[in-house]
Symmetry: C3
Subunit: 306 residues, 3 copies
């Protein structure tokens, strides 16, 4: 079986079989990163361009390592130093990159839908590495990989996603993925951070964290975007933490073997207590490890691999 798509734009339109194909393929690539020589010649002579309009060293590094371990050539196209500041449009920048025969453009862009536009107009494979508040599909896929590794089954799994649901592409991609796969998804956060009619995505809404955590198998914390504090969605960080920080006490409300996840970077003491982040329940660093494997699988499958 192979992916019947040129691009990875989001989870919403991805059939369950394709999700499973990525997860299964990632397994063999995870093995590669565990080897002494972490490198396979799969994408030798291919060009991957990381086109990042928002800074994210972590995601960029994960994609860069994935591409390098597949032996591709990688170019980092930084935005601040780029011709974008000279007024060029996104599409012109991308067309130029494609004209240099890039095989993959890994795009992070503040505008929802930006990767979809490129995907329609370019021959290169577009991988969405986060587009505004829309989707972040490789994050959802690495979360799924981690869940499957630890919990085996998605069906019947009870998950709570906690934080700024309304503005989180991580939440959105995970909600699409997890509901598709038969998990029961709860979303927890203050009313100001809850999307309108979020129930229509098939989730249960909780404004009270303690209530929402009761009995769940997985707690997926979202990062509080401290750097976007301009939009005041709550009175203060202290107040937010009082209501929505994952403390050791709150973890005990979940199932005894509940997992704690976070897409990183974590704000210790803001949305997650340090003891929880470092506890045995936490699979935060597993997520990071699995991110490289999942991205290797995505690049491989989009290039026509089976």
């Amino acid at each position: 079986m192979s992916l019947k798509r040129k691009d990875l734009l989001g989870i919403q339109d991805m059939p369950v079989e394709e999700i499973n194909l990525v997860l299964e393929t990632a397994e063999s690539f995870k093995e590669v990163s565990g080897r002494d020589i972490k490198k396979v010649p799969t994408l030798r002579g291919k060009t991957v361009v990381n086109l990042f309009f928002e800074p994210s060293t972590r995601t960029r590094t994960s994609f860069e390592l994935a591409a390098k371990r597949l032996s591709a050539d990688v170019i980092n196209f930084a935005v601040s130093a780029s011709s974008v500041s000279k007024g060029e449009t996104l599409l012109d920048t991308a067309r130029n990159i494609e004209a240099m025969q890039a095989d993959f453009i890994v795009l992070r862009h503040p505008m929802a839908g930006a990767p979809n536009i490129l995907a329609k107009l370019l021959r290169a494979s577009i991988v969405n590495a986060g587009d505004g508040g829309h989707e972040h599909p490789t994050q959802a896929l690495l979360d799924l990989y981690t869940l499957r590794e630890k919990k085996r089954e998605f069906k019947g799994l009870r998950l709570a996603i906690v934080g700024d649901i309304a503005h989180s592409r991580v939440a959105r991609s995970n909600i699409y993925a997890l509901t598709k796969l038969g998990a029961e998804v709860r979303v927890i956060g203050p009313p100001t951070m809850m999307p309108l009619e979020v129930e229509r995505l098939g989730v249960k809404v909780f404004y009270d964290m303690d209530e929402g955590l009761r009995g769940v198998d997985v707690i997926m914390m979202l990062r509080l975007q401290l750097e976007r504090q301009g939009i005041a969605l709550f009175p203060s960080i202290r107040e937010y933490s009082r209501l929505y920080c994952l403390t050791p006490e709150r973890v005990t409300l979940a199932a005894p073997d509940a997992l704690v996840m976070h897409p990183g970077p974590i704000n210790r003491g803001v949305e997650i207590a340090p003891e929880v982040a470092d506890s045995v329940s936490s699979v935060i660093l597993d997520q990071v490890t699995n991110g490289v494997a999942v991205r290797m699988a995505v690049l491989y499958l989009l290039s026509g691999g089976k």
Copy 2:
């Protein structure tokens, strides 16, 4: 035949046979970038350092890809984060890079003549990637490659270069190259953007764009340096566009099969109308594709290849 030079500093002192050698060599490298595996071992174990004192993601990326597809190791030496900000001189920086056994230094520098100074004092091959308002030889070479690909012959070809001729290294390198190769070159722009005694370079001057475009086979637009607006060379961008923007109507003044070129990044609606940039006459993206091939050829030939 091989290049009898250590460095590529400009087109002015480059004999026609050497220009042709680069163009012919680029042809086989263009084929490499079209392959499934875009990589040859030609410069394996060589070190290419991109030393950029002005930001230009596009040119840097083109050189980086050229070097990587030749299997060289590439280092990007960014200026803002570099020791230059600690007061080190250009020459000391370059000597340090050479002491790390760089084989090539690709230099972009705001000062005309900077690459020539390095070339005299260093053993490494210096490739001028743009020095002030002086030269940008690989841009001219990729323009020539594109012209030859589309028009076969330079002799008798009628070209118009439009824009800020006085401050454009692209214009200067192209004027040197095209007049050498027997083309008829016109320059079009406002008097404030025309170099003194430009006719002595063997070109015809036009201040009226419509008049200058009449019957030409190639229209080469220059980028309006919006970011250098400090030097007010015209009343307003709107006024500039009214007089010198390449509109569909103006294209019809040229020969029926006239080509439209632009070194990029383009300012849509400023110096070029969007419909023109995206029209079949436009070879702007071919220029980008050919840029990688030409730079591969330059690196290869400077390293002693034949």
Copy 3:
């Protein structure tokens, strides 16, 4: 023989045999960088991450080249664009890098002791590329390599280190190394730049440069940190230069075949006269060349090479 350590954190705790092992190993790697094909497959499939919390293009480039010539995959983790600005702790950042299966983390950090913390908590090999005013071990090792190359013996060698001894990690690492190896070390600088009880490190203190230079075999100048001028340790740069700039006249006070060293980047006319920097006594560029070889040796030995 092999290194019995996972990390290179400083010279202070490094036995003489290990220092010698690095120097001897560097010799064969220096030969690699002198070859036509400057590349060996030694670290193929290994991942080296340059994690720099202070900008230093020069040191980063040296490590990047060392890693690439050993065929490792290299990731530059820039701090300004990184999640550090989002409030993540050093340890979380490093844990994330390790979770992506980095084999080496080359760390530059403004806080003394930062690499030691990481070394204790991570499995990856930590290489200290400068931590605050503490240590810069690869700089000392490349200085030793250069000295051995030029002077053969450390025993009885008379060295003067000149400048801001108190705030220099280069001075500190070199003092540890040179006194261990039997050299006679003098430190020269104004009282405001001299550490308290510096004599306890086994050095002789001179406040008068002419007196301190008398008869030495090696003059090791330190860079005046012009960019840290906030802390006014002397009345003016002019005054500093008058007292502590290495002029041609001052060089004549040293032994006739004395070497002049400097870790770079040099401030011409501030701490070193241009004629001295460019004289035959100067081994400043040898230091740069040897830096790549020494860093190759360090990466190789830490990975278990013998």
